[in-house]
């Protein structure tokens, strides 16, 4: 997997993470959270991750977000995450 096997060799001192959320929009087990809920959960998770490394330190650094677009013919599946 390039994210964990190759990227850390080329780019030093970054913290590489994946972020996943339940994006099922149809079906019996479709996600209950809306897009705004996913946004809040993501920010909260990043804050928790930073506070676990730098305790009591005001962290101010960049976040590089890499996302994809899932598009399967129907606009129902069209999600942009940036």
């Amino acid at each position: 997997m390039w994210l964990k096997d190759f990227l850390p060799r080329d780019v030093q001192n970054i913290r590489i993470m994946t972020y996943g959320y339940d994006s099922r929009l149809v079906g019996q087990r479709k996600a209950e959270n809306r897009l705004l809920d996913h946004q809040r959960l993501l920010i909260q998770d990043i804050e928790n991750a930073r506070s676990s490394v730098e305790v009591g330190v005001l962290v101010s650094r960049q976040i590089i977000a890499c996302a994809d677009s899932v598009y399967k013919e129907s606009p129902t599946y069209h999600i942009h995450w940036t």
Partner: protein, 249 residues
């Protein structure tokens, strides 16, 4: 009186002569009704005796007739099916004693069919083999590992709940968790085991993990998952929202 004795003697001589003639030139003995051929005689209609005669190069004029009898017998067949039988026995079960004796070849006909059935059953069992290639690879995330754990500790805990897990398909990667002081492991199983193939999210029992911490194994990868070990000062966070499972390969 003398005439009766002479008549009986003549009749006896005729009967014996006729019997010998039938045995020698016609290939079968002339026996009285209800009698069987004596043991060791060349006559009789027993199948094994006919086969012996067919393969005996010194069988004389009876050879052609006996071969004709064998050809009409389907289990015995001609020389070609007999050769096929021997070759099939070679391919199916080499533990069977190989012999050129036609009688043994005929006797092994039924076990041969059993061996073929057995081979079919074996192939069916192999299709249900948990380690067969029909199982797709699958990646799991195991959260809550104690910081002192290594790959061996994790293998022991997973092996408690899934005995089919072997070190052959066990390739984990351990990283410090995004939150707290625990570790997170990524485990790519190729091929995946039957037990874990249909499971997406479940806790590992404490009895299996032998730790007070709750270990959770999942394959949905919700929330943050670490992918590297921090060695120095962090200058940036790279957060990737991958396209389904493509990033795990």
């Amino acid at each position: 009186m003398m005439a009766q004795v002479a008549l009986l003697a003549g009749v006896s001589v005729c009967v014996v002569g006729l019997s010998l003639a039938c045995t020698k030139y016609m290939g079968f003995p002339l026996t009285l009704s209800g009698q069987t051929a004596p043991a060791g005689s060349q006559g009789g209609t027993s199948l094994s005796t006919q086969l012996d005669q067919a393969t005996d190069p010194n069988s004389g004029p009876r050879e052609g007739k006996c071969k004709q009898l064998i050809d009409t017998s389907e289990p015995l067949g001609s020389s070609k099916p007999v050769n096929n039988t021997e070759s099939d026995i070679h391919s199916v079960d080499t533990s069977e004693p190989q012999t050129n004796d036609p009688i043994h070849s005929v006797d092994t006909g039924e076990p041969q069919s059993k061996d073929l059935i057995h081979s079919v059953d074996t192939s069916k069992l192999q299709s249900n083999d948990p380690t067969s290639s029909s199982l797709r690879p699958k990646c799991f995330r195991i959260s809550g590992l104690p910081s002192s754990w290594s790959e061996i500790h994790l293998f022991d805990a997973l092996h408690e709940i899934d005995q089919s897990l072997t070190r052959h398909n066990y390739r984990p990667s351990l990283y410090p968790s995004c939150y707290g002081s625990t570790q997170t492991a990524l485990l790519n199983l190729d091929p995946c085991t039957v037990y874990l193939q249909s499971r997406n999210h479940f806790p590992i029992p404490k009895l299996a993990s032998r730790t007070a911490d709750v270990l959770t194994i999942d394959s949905d990868f919700y929330n943050l998952t670490p992918l590297n070990i921090l060695t120095g000062e962090v200058v940036a966070e790279l957060v990737v929202r991958p396209l389904e499972t493509s990033w795990r390969c």
